[in-house]
Symmetry: C2
Subunit: 453 residues, 2 copies
Amino acid sequence: MASSGNEGDQVGRSAGAPAVVRVGVLGAGNVGKALLSLLLEEAQSIEGRTGVRLELAGVAVAHPSRPRSSIPAELLTGDAKGLVTDPSVDVVVELIGGLEPARSLLEAAIGAGKPVVTANKELIAEHGAELATSAASAGVDLFYEAAVAGAIPIIRPLRESLAGEKLRRVMGIVNGTTNFILTTMSEEGHSYTQALAEAQRLGLAERDPTADVDGYDAAAKAAILASLAFGCEVVSSDVAREGISSVDPVDVDFAGRLGYVVKLLAVAERIDAGTAASQDAKEISVRVHPAMLPRTHPLASVRGAFNAVFVEGEAAGQLMLYGSGAGGRPTASAVLGDLIDAAHHLRAGFSARPTPRTRVRMHPADDLRSAWYLNIDVADRPGVLASVASVFGEHAVSIRSMEQVGMGNEARLIFVTHVARQGDLMRTLDGLSRLEVVDRIGGVLRIVGDEEA
Amino acid sequence: MASSGNEGDQVGRSAGAPAVVRVGVLGAGNVGKALLSLLLEEAQSIEGRTGVRLELAGVAVAHPSRPRSSIPAELLTGDAKGLVTDPSVDVVVELIGGLEPARSLLEAAIGAGKPVVTANKELIAEHGAELATSAASAGVDLFYEAAVAGAIPIIRPLRESLAGEKLRRVMGIVNGTTNFILTTMSEEGHSYTQALAEAQRLGLAERDPTADVDGYDAAAKAAILASLAFGCEVVSSDVAREGISSVDPVDVDFAGRLGYVVKLLAVAERIDAGTAASQDAKEISVRVHPAMLPRTHPLASVRGAFNAVFVEGEAAGQLMLYGSGAGGRPTASAVLGDLIDAAHHLRAGFSARPTPRTRVRMHPADDLRSAWYLNIDVADRPGVLASVASVFGEHAVSIRSMEQVGMGNEARLIFVTHVARQGDLMRTLDGLSRLEVVDRIGGVLRIVGDEEA
């Protein structure tokens, strides 16, 4: 165990007197700055609340000579590797983002026997399993509460509170940008393009919004949630991904009239086979896609840039954890919670248990079952509905409701199906697109959260 | 550290091989039965998910000879004290409820060096501080996630994830019975009596509903939440308490028209003095009362028997944790999460840190500030509004809105005030009751959750 740099203070099993735990921070962006301000200005009040004195040992940044009003110059360094391996640094916090050099620096810290805390979703989604293995062999903590849904406690509840729970499904609104865009489309009637521009104006979307609107950010979080919920190794590229850029305000509006709201969901789901699924070869589905949720569903009330994760367990029933999913201070708060836990564990010579991993199979997308919403423009003449309906019937997709909206020479048909196999639905769409009377297949959205239908 | 009863298996720092942890359970009521079914039927799958094998050592019940289909007879005992002190029992779970003998049994278990898990809110609200002190000196865990809001992870997030966070306020819907009654009144237009009868018919309310409807249950949970959120010792009798039995469906209806819903809230709040409050003598307010919440507030969408806790922190912002607040299986799930954590800690010779406690002062109720809703019946004649309004003015209570509803010879005045001191509002009510033109002061409700108003 590393000894602290302070004379007399020893990091060790000294339950009474507060020991100093020295923290090395990598990166001073938005989250880094918020964390440093907490560490520099609130160290005493944090010690009062927790019994742990956190002392900032150093901050590694790309340009250490650039003046920064909020960070004392003597704490800045350009040598991240040197900070990580400095024997006076007890715990390392990584807030650089991206895969490298973040990964090598965390491995170096773990190799030096130091607990690590990170907010890096890409890294955990891609290399979480290897990092966890390294941390377990070194007997140190690897914490990443801030990597999914910012300030919302979700990693620790999944790892600890729900450890005994057989989970069925975890569904999250884990990207604030897309939730803001969809909320604005729904409540203001804006188009996708207008809503995106509004998000960009407010600093909620990047100039290049691809990572958010195409679901890459949500997919990384879905991979992390799936890995924890089902004790397996799921990486970003395992996640089936659809973004929101093709969501049409017309469909958002129809969703509202039918009692639904459109949300971008990250879903990790255990699929029980028809017969008892064996524990060794369980099947899961992990995906990101827009979906229609009943307005009464707890996730439906998550508006604007907020995040929430909805968890369904066999004994616990339905849970939802809601809060700020991004932003410097909320994310720094989650990092700080991890840091305090890691410091406590370090003093006691303890580290959190690694989650045992089992093998899983990805459930074939064609076999996924849900209800669907379809918006189809057809020629407005007799017999059209019959030919359209017969295509549904041919592919064993049963219609729950149909509404016809006149539009001059055309008619718009709004279908809601009963629960159907995704493969059957796709073949239905294919069949419909071949019908001469079908002019255009518009919105096609899964309906989630009223599975009893 | 107690050795397990199984030959060869040793409870200790053996990260690899699964050690058996033997569990003694006190009580076999609703929650106990659900926990036993998880322990007996799912032990293997829990071991697969967590690496911990939990083995049921025994179940202490009042009538051990009464046949129970779900519990093997050889595990039943009438000797709770004997089970707690049996050297082959590693961890004790208390599900008896009430103060005694629960308290003595837990102290005996702690005294014997055993981690304890309880779902007993009365006990923790009353003697949580002493039990925590005993557990800390014995170096064992005292866990009670199930004591507040059933399956919802709230104790652990407050203790760990939010440990570094300076919390402003914790507001919970922590009693499912009263939330069901208020939801039914709001959505079905039922009277309090009708809604209570419906709750009793569904088994959601006791035949004597006092503990729920008069807020005693919520007050115990408020005391526990306040103690954790502010690191202090608050007991049930410190909690200001108003129940829901006088909530009138008329006011629930007006609340709806004004954009609010009526909820029974458990509130624990830090009050900042006008000048910077010193950390040593911070003031808090802990209370249970019905209140009007804006319909857009996350707690407003918590319907029926569900629970939720809304947390406001300086860095984390707003968080909400939502789920099933009662019921055998959800509560047993929370107990099981604690049990797995305690078992892991026991194997590693670790125990969770106790929260440092600071002294707090209870903020005087008269100084509490909120907006208010008032429903006043007056004689319908000229000049009445002027004399009523002048009483508000005399006591420095500023009116935000007023609506008059005609009722024959009478008029009903619905007032919403700006934020006002509770003492001033009470003096306003006193002054109004002395006015000859005031026939009746009906509903008086705090408005919470739009403090910017």
